[in-house]
Each structure stands twice: as structure tokens, then as C-alpha cells.
């Protein structure tokens, strides 16, 4: 740890020295006009983006926002987006959700990178430890859709979709180096090279590395066992054939070592046993995309193959997924019709110690067809209607329709409303898992544990969402986006205890089986506001606020004790806001500050509300390169952000500093 502080100090010193050495600003008028055309500028975001004419609650993080985000993991970037709740669990685990139901195994948010789903059908969530930060320079934008996206994206886009879109290879030419490190972020780095492929093609290849030590402490002030190290390499190549067709081929391979401390119920003690686990994560994917734009018809065909493997103590899982999707967008008159078909096959092989899956291997298939018509009713009104039919191995056909209306009374404001239905199909875990989750104490001289079981009768969770929104540009420098929602859920997951039974091995003990069922229902409602104010040409303020209320109930025949939830209803804050300030100072200096407020959470423990302040200072020492120092958690030395499932031991993020160099040739 001391070494890292030295490293940080060295970093700061470097910046200071370099800054002193560049006191004089060259006069731009001395450059020739040709030279002037080569000068890269930092756009001071003079104008807010035009108001988006999208009938949904969408937030787009642009390349410009990403360029100044000094975050070094994807969840830390998502934290900056209004309406997204991110809780750090330990050095390699996060809980990420929008519109509620957050948890380590949160399952109502779909995450896509270049259209490829990176969530696992095992629990419908994302293994964030296998997704180290991409090259932020190579990301074009991150779109976050709050609310159901089932019609376009299919089952599991229940409460939202996160879409990470990388730049075409043409825009990432040349050599780019990123490297850095600090007190918690031990070391991270990356290298990207981009070039041309013949007359009509471009490529980039890249490699990324990151390492975090067990720096964090758990609740008992003991150093946790949660180090994380991963390397990831990949490429992207784009070709253009004629004026109409483009091909993209991309792929990645990764390999990592992850540590965690588990707390496992053990009847032989009896009690809980701590296990320091260290496991491997590996994977690769290859994806090809073909696009053709002919007249008013655009076709896209996408093929992908992916393999992932991870071997934590609780469950070893290997999975191969193949996907083929085709869609066509055509416009004629008032109609813009998008329709497509998709087929996905995913096969897994598991072997568990804490979790057991029966049968241990399984192949699932999902086939879907969707159509969406965007109708321009008149110059100010658009109606969108869509429907998705999806067939999956568990629940056969599911229908996910939506209707959206957009009204643009003038150039400066947009109103929209939507009604949609989405489902979350059963996960592999909900059908087939068994976990010895809790040690409940002694009864009649025998230890008692509860064992959570998946159930073959587990069905899809459903939501019907009612949304309205308003976007406006009340002043040329102010952009405002407000949305409100009311979600009605049916068949939500509940945990139903059954009659206890006695097992003889390894020592005689009592097991209380708890079956996953669908006996909860209810509603959530809330309000989300985001605003951007370009106070001056060099100063921008962003504000985000999200409010959420739960009203969940269990059916009369349910005996759910409300204690087995990893996506407990109380794991999303009722209020959260973030305020960020981006100041563009003379001579290439930038000062960015982020203030977050997250309301208290009630899980098994009570987590008090907190404020968190992060500050970054960045200096662009030449046209394309920068040095920065980022300080996290300036207000408090330690903030416990999220509570993991009972069998995991969490860490408490501490105040941290890291430096970063980004250098482009």
C-alpha cells in the first residue's frame, strides 16, 4: 500500500513539473491555416445536444462525457449516469440497477456491448468482474434506457437496458497508451493500435490490463481477500464494400484471477466458515456484423459465438452461446418499420460446491420475432407500436408489446408517453439450483440450515409499465429531461419455506427447504430528473435525481419471510442524486467534481445514507494526451455502499487516489 502512495506522489509531481515547463502559450495565429486545421480541440460543449426525439427515458453519455470520466471500471462509469444505482460490494463485485431491485444478482437490467448481450442466462445478471473497463477513448457512447425494452431487446430488459457502443475502427487510428495506478487501483493499463486494411478497411487491436490488491477492509476491519487481476485483448475491423455495404468483425479474449471471501454455512461446526477463494475467469467471443443500406431499406445481420468460464468456489460454470440475428429497417411514407428475427442457443456445464445445479448441464434455445412501426401522424406527433414474440425453453411463448406516443409542440420541447409489457424469463438458477444459504441455530440438539431451491415450476416475472416524460430546452444553455413511471409487477420471485427434514450426513442436521416461487406482486413508482446547464462556454453542470417507491406484497398463500432476497426490495435507495461540475480551465487544465447522494438501504443490515465526492484534475499536455489525478470518497474515509448475499463477505471502499496517463501518437 505504501508503494502505491509513493507512486501517486510521483504522479502528482510529474504533473506539477510538466505544468511548470509549459507556462507559455503559443499564439495560434502564428500557425498556418493548414496547421490550424490539424489542431485538435477540446470541445467545451458549447451547445447541449438537440432534444432527443425518443419516446422513452433515455440518457446518453457521449464521447465527450466519457473522455472526461476518469472512472476505470464500467460500474464506476455507470455511477455517473442519472437514475442508475451502483453499489460497490468488494474490489471486483458491484450491484447495478435502474428503477429498483438492485442486488449482486440483480436480474432486471440488460447490458449490451455493440449489441452483444454480456449478461449470463444463469442468473440474468452481469458478471462485472469479467468486464474490465474498455478503452474509454474507443467508446462512442453509452445509452441507458430506463424502463422496459422488451419489444426490441427481448426478455430480461425489464427495468432497463444499458447499451455500450464502441467507435468504428476508422475513428480509432494510431497508437494510444493508457496507464495508471494508485492506492486502490493498483495498476491499470492498455495499448491500442489502429491502422488501415487496404483501400476500404480499418482495424484496431488492443490489450488491457488491470490489477487491484486486497486493499479493502471488511466490516470487522480485517483486510479482505478480494484482489482482482484481468487482462483482455481484442480487435475490431471494419470494411466498406461499395457505397452500400459494410462488414464488421470483432472479437476479444480475456483471462483473469479473482479472489473473494465466502461465508459458508457448515453443519459440522456448526456455524459459518470463512473460505478464502481464488478462481479463474476466462472467455472469448467473435462477432461478425453485415450492414446494407439500399435506398430506404437497411439490413443488419449479426452472428456471434461466445465462450465463458469461471470457477469460483460456489459454482464452476462454463457456457457457450451462439447467436444469429437479422433485422430490417425500411421507411415508406409515414411509416418506418423495423422488424427482425433472432435465434440464440446457450449450453452450460456446471459443477458446484456451495451451489448445486441439477441437471449440471443444459442447453437452452430462444427464438424471437419482433416488429415495430414508427408512424408519423403529423408534423408534431409520432406513434410507435411494437410487439415481440419470444419462444424460450422454459415458458414457451411470451408476448411483449409496447405503444409509445411522442408529441413535439415546438422546437424546444418534447412530450412522450408509453405503455409496455416486459417479462423476465426464468433463469437457470431459478429452475435448478440448491444453496445451503443460512445457518439458523440449533433445534432439539441438531444444527439447522436453510437450503434455497430453484423450482421447476418457476415462471416468468412480468411487468406492465406506464411512463410519461418531458424534455425541454428552456434556455439555449439548459437541457431538462423529466420522466415518471408506474410499474405493475406480477409473479415476482418469492421464497417459500417447506417442511423441515433431517439429513444424516456429514453430521445429523435439520434442513429447512426454501423453494423459489412467484408469489409476490406489487408496484413501484418514481420520478427521474436530469438536467444539463452550460453555465459558460467553459463550465458545465449536470444534475441527476431519481426517486423510487416500492409497494410489494405477497399472495395470501405465501409464507415468504422476506429474508432470502438478494434483490431485496429495500436494496435500492428511495432518493439518489448526483451533481457533477466540469470546468475547463486555461492551458489545457480541467477540473471535474462529482457529488453523489444515496439514500439509506435496509437489507439484513441497515446501511445509512451517504454523500460521496470524487474529484479529478486533468491536464492535456499536448493535443491528444493527458495526465490526471482522481480522488474518490473525499468526504468520508469509508463508505459501505452495498450488502452482498449472506454467503459473501463485502468490503468497504476507502478513500482512494489514482493517477492516469493517456497518450496518443
Amino acid at each position: 500500500m505504501r508503494v502505491n502512495w509513493v507512486f501517486c506522489l510521483a504522479w502528482c509531481a510529474t504533473i506539477a513539473v510538466a505544468a511548470a515547463g509549459s507556462a507559455q502559450v503559443p499564439d495560434l495565429t502564428q500557425l498556418s491555416i493548414e496547421e490550424l486545421m490539424q489542431v485538435e480541440v477540446v470541445t467545451a460543449s458549447k451547445k447541449p445536444q438537440p432534444i432527443k426525439e425518443v419516446p422513452a427515458a433515455v440518457y446518453v453519455m457521449t464521447a465527450e462525457d466519457l473522455q472526461r470520466a476518469e472512472a476505470v471500471t464500467i460500474p464506476e462509469v455507470l455511477r455517473l449516469i442519472p437514475g442508475v444505482h451502483v453499489g460497490t460490494i468488494d474490489a471486483n463485485k458491484w450491484a447495478v440497477a435502474v428503477r429498483g431491485f438492485n442486488g449482486r444478482y440483480s436480474n432486471k437490467l440488460l447490458v449490451l456491448i455493440d449489441g452483444r448481450s454480456v449478461y449470463t442466462p444463469f442468473f440474468s445478471g452481469t458478471y462485472w468482474d469479467a468486464q474490465p473497463l474498455l478503452f474509454l477513448h474507443d467508446v462512442e457512447r453509452i445509452e441507458v434506457v430506463r424502463g422496459p425494452g422488451g419489444t426490441l431487446w427481448g426478455a430480461n430488459a425489464v427495468n432497463g437496458v444499458i447499451n455500450i457502443i464502441t467507435k468504428p475502427a476508422k475513428e480509432t487510428q494510431g497508437l494510444q497508451v493508457v496507464s495508471g495506478g494508485g492506492s486502490e487501483e493498483q495498476a491499470f493499463g492498455g495499448l491500442r493500435v489502429g491502422g488501415r486494411l487496404g483501400e476500404n478497411g480499418y482495424y484496431r487491436v488492443y490489450t488491457l490490463y488491470r490489477q487491484r490488491d486486497d486493499l479493502w477492509q471488511d466490516r470487522a476491519n480485517v483486510r479482505n481477500h478480494d484482489r482482482w487481476q484481468i487482462q483482455r485483448s481484442g480487435f475490431r475491423a471494419d470494411w466498406k464494400q461499395g457505397e452500400e455495404e459494410t462488414f464488421t468483425l470483432q472479437g476479444e479474449v480475456y483471462d483473469g484471477r479473482v479472489s473473494q471471501r465466502l461465508r459458508v454455512a457448515d453443519v459440522t461446526l456448526p456455524g459459518y466458515r470463512l473460505i478464502d477463494d481464488r478462481y479463474t475467469i476466462t472467455g472469448y467471443y467473435l462477432m461478425g456484423t453485415w450492414n446494407r443500406q439500399r435506398g430506404s431499406v437497411a439490413d443488419t445481420l449479426r452472428l456471434s459465438f461466445e465462450h465463458t468460464g469461471r470457477s469460483p468456489y460456489e459454482l464452476t460454470e462454463f457456457r457457450s452461446t451462439a447467436n444469429v440475428a437479422w433485422q430490417r429497417l425500411s421507411s415508406a411514407g409515414q411509416h418506418e418499420v423495423l422488424w427482425g428475427v433472432e435465434y440464440k442457443r446457450t449450453a452450460d456445464r456446471t459443477q458446484g460446491r456451495l451451489m448445486r445445479v441439477t441437471p449440471p448441464s443444459r442447453t437452452d434455445r430462444v427464438f424471437s420475432v419482433f416488429v415495430q412501426d414508427d408512424i408519423t401522424l403529423n408534423s408534431s406527433t409520432r406513434l410507435t407500436m411494437g410487439m415481440k414474440f419470444e419462444n424460450n425453453s422454459y415458458t414457451a411463448w411470451e408476448v411483449q408489446p409496447n405503444v409509445r406516443l411522442l408529441w413535439k409542440p415546438d422546437e424546444k420541447s418534447v412530450w412522450w408517453g408509453a405503455i409496455s409489457r416486459a417479462i423476465r424469463m426464468p433463469t437457470r438458477a431459478e429452475r435448478a439450483i440448491a444453496i445451503d444459504a443460512y445457518y439458523e441455530g440449533m433445534m432439539s440438539g441438531l444444527p439447522v440450515i436453510s437450503r434455497i431451491h430453484g423450482s421447476p415450476r418457476f415462471r416468468s416475472e412480468e411487468v406492465t409499465a406506464y411512463e410519461v416524460g418531458f424534455r425541454s430546452q428552456p434556455h439555449p444553455r439548459v437541457l431538462l429531461d423529466i420522466s415518471a413511471f408506474h410499474n405493475v409487477y406480477r409473479h415476482l420471485r418469492s421464497f417459500e419455506p417447506a417442511d423441515p427434514l433431517v439429513e444424516a450426513s456429514p453430521v445429523p442436521h435439520i434442513v429447512v427447504p426454501v423453494y423459489m416461487s412467484n408469489k409476490k406482486y406489487g408496484r413501484t413508482y418514481g420520478l427521474e430528473v436530469s438536467a444539463r446547464w452550460n453555465v459558460t462556454d467553459n463550465w458545465t453542470l449536470n444534475l441527476g435525481y431519481a426517486n423510487l417507491t416500492y409497494r410489494l406484497q405477497r399472495s395470501p398463500d405465501s409464507k415468504d419471510p422476506f429474508k432470502f432476497h438478494s434483490d431485496s426490495t429495500s436494496n435500492t435507495p428511495r432518493h439518489q442524486f448526483n451533481l457533477s461540475s466540469h470546468l475547463h480551465l486555461p492551458q489545457g487544465w480541467h477540473l471535474d467534481a462529482y457529488l453523489f447522494f444515496v439514500d439509506r438501504l435496509f437489507g439484513m443490515d441497515f446501511l445509512p445514507s451517504y454523500y460521496r465526492l470524487d474529484v479529478s484534475i486533468r491536464w492535456h499536455f499536448n493535443r491528444r494526451s493527458s495526465l490526471s489525478v482522481t480522488m474518490q470518497n473525499l468526504l468520508k474515509r469509508k463508505i459501505r455502499e452495498f450488502e452482498p448475499p449472506l454467503w459473501e463477505r463485502d468490503s468497504i471502499p476507502e478513500r482512494a487516489v489514482y493517477g492516469r496517463l493517456s497518450w496518443q501518437l
Binding site: 490539424q38 480541440v41 470541445t43 467545451a44 458549447k46 499536455f621
Partner: protein
Amino acid sequence: MVAVLLSVACAQVYNETEVKAAFLYHFTSYVEYPASAFASPTSPFVVGILGKSAVFNALQEAVRGKTVKGRQVEVRQVSLGEQLRECHLLFIPEGETGNLPKVLAILGATPVLLVGESERFAAKGGVIGFFMEQNRVRFEVNLDSAKRAQLNISAKLLSLARIVKADRRS
């Protein structure tokens, strides 16, 4: 490694405003005005910035102590009205784009190099419009607008520009 980095730390990143101001200064030397454009051989070269814009300060800074076509340069903040016709170069910032039709009506055939930064500014009647491409400032030129304003633009400037045509008006 740090030493290597320091050695390249000589160049600088600029903000868009500074770069655009420098472009405005450069444009003046590639544009030929009719003799009628200047009242006397000693009258200054007037650059007008419509409304409020950071370009005003950046340009004042950039042209300090410099001359254009052997004339002193005067940078003015101007508002809609007859005074626009006194300018030789008029810059319309993003926020004032809505006033372009009025500006065109006031200027008529007056020899004023009309420069703007909004989307498709040149196609909408301006002479030169800035746009951004890969974080660099680029510009497009509408030759019909230049002709109407009796301005001759040098071939060198045109070779660096993207040439656009005016929007067809029905």
C-alpha cells in the same frame, strides 16, 4: 518513461473558441474585398461578433497588435441593425443562429464575410460555416453567398474547404 513523456509535452490543447478565433483571423487574408468596402485607405478592418460569445474575447486577444490588409483591426460586439453593414467580417455564434434570415436581409449585397458555426450555416446563406470533424475544426464555403457579397475567395482557402451549395428554397 516519465522523462519520455515530458519531452513530448511541448504542444498544447486548445479550446474550440481559440481555434475558431485564429481561423477568423486567417480567413481575412484569403478574401478579396471590392474597393467600395473601405471608406478610406486608413479606415480599419472591422470584425463584428453578433451578440455575446467567447469568440469576441479570444479574437481580441488574437489580433492584438496585428494588422489585416495593412489596416488596423477593430473587433466589435454588434447587435442586429444597420451597423452590421459596417463590418467586413461578421461572425454569428451558435446562439444567434436564429437571427440568420434577418442578418441576410440587412446585409443584402454588402461585402461582408459572413461566418457562422451552426449546422449547415453556409448552406443556409452564410459564406463560411465551421463544423467539427474528429475533434478538429473544419469549414465549408458557399460560393454563391460569396458572389452575392462581392467577395473573391482565394483558391488556397477553397482547396482546404468543403464546398457546399445553398439549400433550394421553394
